[in-house]
Amino acid sequence: MRDDFDRPLWRRLVVNRFVVVLGAIALAIVGWNAYVASYSGGRVTGRVTDTAGEPVAGASVTLWVLNFTTYVEKARGVTDADGRFLIINRDSHNLQLAAEKAGVGRSRRVPVRLYFRAQDVELREPLVLVPTSQGGS
C-alpha cells in the first residue's frame, strides 16, 4: 500500500480502490431499490385478441403463480371493451397467464417472469384466443 504522506488524509481515504468500488456497488444497490419501489404496484396488464387481431371483450383471464414446483391458480380478471385486462399480483415473480372466452376459444398459457415481486408488467404480445377444435385430436 502506498504510504504517500503528501496527499491529504481525506483524499487517501476516499480515492482508493476499495472505497471507489464498494461505493459504486452501494450506489447501484440504492438505485435498484429505488427503481423497485417505484414500479412495484403489482399491475399485470395485457390485451386479449382473437385470431383476426380484433380485441375481445368479456374474456376471462386467469393468473397462475408458481408454488414450489407447480402452478396454482391465483386470480382472475375480465377484459373490458378494448380487450384489456388488469390483474393485481403481489405474490410471485413467476407467473402464467391464459385467457378464454366461450364461443371464441382459449389462448395458450403464457409464462411471465418478473425481475421482482409485484413488478408492474405489460404483456408485449396479446393473448390470442384460438378456437378449440370440437372432438379433434
Binding site: 500500500m1 476499495f18 468500488v21 415473480h93 413467476n94 417472469r113 418478473l114 425481475y115 421482482f116 415481486r117
Partner: protein, 270 residues
C-alpha cells in the same frame, strides 16, 4: 542468461489458464441459459440468455438474511482479529520470560487443524451458552496465528529508536501500539482484514455445527441448503452459486496483493 523462446511458456500458461477458468465460465453460462439446462448436447454459448434464474435464487432461499448473517459474523471476526493479533504481535516483539514457550505454543497450534477440534469446540460453545449466536459463530475465528506473525513481522520492521522515543515520552504500551506501530503497519492491517474476512466468510463446517435455527445460518450453509432442497434440477442453483462467488472474487481482485503477501509471509514463518 541465455535467451530462450517465450512462446511455449505462453502456450502452456494459456492452456492452464483456460483450464482453470473453464469451470467458472460453465457455471455462469448455465446460470443465464435460456434453454433447459439438462438438454444434451449442452450449448457452449448460452441460448437466449436471461437473468430470471437469479430472481428465482433470490426468492427461493432468503439470500439477504444469510448475507447479513455472514457479514455480521465476518465483521466481528475481522475487528477482533485486527485488535487481538496486533496486541499479540506487539507482545512477541518484546523479550519476556517464557517467550520461547509462547512461540512454541503458537507454532504448534498452527498444526492443529480446526476439524480436529470440532467436537470439544461444540461442547465448549454449548457450555458457554453461545450456540446458535453470532458470538458463538465468530469466537473461534477471532484470532489466527498466521496473522499474528504478519503483525509481528511488520512491527519488527519499525525502528527501535521510534519505540524508545515514544517510551521516553511516557506513552503507555497500549498507546505505543496504536499511535506508533499501527500507522506504520498499514499493509499488515490490510492483510489481516482480508485473510480474516475470507476465512470467516468461507467457513462452512463451524456454522454447520453451531447453528440450530434456520435464520442464523450463514451464506455457505444457505448454499448447501439450497442444494439439498432443489437438488440440481434448476438453473437457479447455479445463479445462487454465482451470487455467492461474486463478492469473494471481487474482494480477491481488489486485494490480491495483500492476500498473497499475507499467505506467503505468515506461512513461511513456520
Amino acid at each position: 542468461m541465455r535467451r530462450y523462446p517465450r512462446w511455449p511458456i505462453h502456450m502452456a500458461l494459456l492452456t492452464v489458464s483456460v483450464l482453470m477458468l473453464l469451470p467458472f465460465y460453465w457455471v455462469v453460462k448455465t446460470s443465464v441459459s435460456g434453454e433447459n439446462i439438462f438438454a444434451y448436447p449442452p450449448s457452449v454459448i448460452p441460448k437466449s440468455p436471461h437473468l430470471f434464474y437469479y430472481v428465482d435464487a433470490w426468492y427461493y432461499i432468503p439470500f439477504a438474511r444469510y448475507f447479513v448473517n455472514s457479514i455480521v459474523v465476518s465483521s466481528i471476526a475481522v475487528v477482533a482479529n485486527v485488535i487481538l493479533n496486533a496486541m499479540a504481535g506487539y507482545a512477541l516483539t518484546r523479550d519476556f520470560v517464557g517467550k520461547p514457550f509462547v512461540l512454541f505454543l503458537f507454532l504448534s497450534c498452527m498444526m492443529i487443524p480446526f476439524q480436529a477440534t470440532i467436537i470439544p469446540a461444540y461442547l465448549i460453545t454449548g457450555r458457554l451458552g453461545l450456540l446458535d449466536s453470532y458470538w458463538g459463530l465468530a469466537l473461534p475465528q477471532c484470532s489466527t496465528i498466521v496473522c499474528i506473525f504478519v503483525f509481528k513481522g511488520s512491527f519488527d520492521a519499525v525502528p527501535r529508536s521510534l519505540v524508545d522515543a515514544a517510551r521516553i515520552d511516557g506513552l503507555s504500551e497500549w498507546r505505543i501500539i496504536w499511535k506508533v506501530m499501527m500507522p506504520l503497519a498499514k499493509s499488515a492491517i490490510a492483510t489481516n482484514v482480508i485473510l480474516a474476512f475470507v476465512w470467516s466468510w468461507n467457513n462452512f463446517m463451524w456454522p454447520l455445527i453451531v447453528t440450530r435455527s434456520a435464520d442464523m445460518q450463514t451464506l455457505p450453509l444457505g448454499l448447501a441448503r439450497f442444494l439439498s432442497y432443489q437438488e440440481d434440477t434448476t438453473g437457479a442453483l447455479y445463479a445462487f452459486c454465482v451470487m455467492v462467488l461474486a463478492p469473494g472474487v471481487l474482494l480477491f481482485l481488489l486485494a490480491q496483493r495483500e492476500f498473497i503477501q499475507g499467505l506467503t509471509s505468515g506461512a513461511t514463518k513456520g
